[in-house]
């Protein structure tokens, strides 16, 4: 049973477009949601994160929109660049727990020049 789901599995956009990656979760106790970027052969790198008390978090071209009621969030990558081509993982954890991260299955993003 997957606690964190991501869609789409893969996404292709043109350079300059906004890529939208979706994530949903089941456990109401989750209150911290980081997004990680992973390039082939490397470890995941933290991109941006949000706490459940917020509904939006921006960092440069990256924005998280969070809907607590629907248990959904999305990562928007504005002005996508070919260098953004990577796999993006949504993760979740609960501050009431041991901080273990539950990962989604990832979205493979390709940005075409």
């Amino acid at each position: 049973q997957q606690q964190v789901r991501q869609s789409p599995q893969s996404l292709t956009v043109w350079e300059g477009e906004t890529a939208i990656l979706n994530c949903s979760y089941e456990n109401s106790a989750f209150d911290y949601f980081p997004w990680y970027q992973q390039f082939p052969g490397e470890g995941p790198a933290l991109l941006i994160s949000i706490l459940s008390v917020s509904d939006k978090k921006e960092d440069g071209r990256f924005t998280i929109f969070f809907n607590k009621r629907e248990k959904k969030l999305s990562l928007h990558i504005a002005d996508s660049q070919p260098g953004d081509s990577a796999t993006y993982f949504c993760a979740a954890s609960a501050s009431s727990g041991s901080w273990q991260l539950i990962f989604g299955s990832g979205t493979q993003l390709t940005v075409m020049p």
């Binding site: 980081p34 470890g43 041991s98 901080w99 273990q100 539950i102 299955s105």
Partner: protein, 115 residues
């Protein structure tokens, strides 16, 4: 950002042998984690460790697995004996939880192949 190092980057081992994966966490971090990623799948939590003790472990953390961080050196994951299904990439992460979330920093992974 902060760097987590992992040694070795690759390891090939015969089934039944012992293997030790080493992690050099971020210097002032206090919490340490191991995750397992099978090719093409998501990362799954194995175990976390704080103050010399396992805090929580998942079903994937079999009896053949053990972790330790002797004298503040490497944080290690030992598998003894190894099995074919242990083939995966193992990622170490470290964090220093603060109010507002646990920012975990990951190493580049150790690719383990059990033959």
């Amino acid at each position: 950002g902060p760097k987590v190092l992992q040694i070795p980057s690759h390891q090939i081992i015969d089934m039944g042998q012992m293997v030790t994966l080493n992690c050099d966490p971020v210097s002032n971090h206090l919490y340490f984690y191991w995750y397992k990623q099978i090719l093409g799948q998501q990362m799954e939590f194995l175990v976390n460790f704080y103050n010399g003790k396992v805090m929580e472990k998942s079903k994937l953390f079999k009896d053949q697995f053990s972790v330790e961080r002797p004298d503040g050196s490497y944080f290690t994951l030992k598998i003894q004996p190894t099995a074919l299904e242990d083939s995966a990439v193992y990622f170490c992460a470290s964090s220093s939880p603060e109010q507002g979330g646990d920012t975990q920093y990951f190493g580049p992974g150790t690719r383990l192949l059990v033959l």
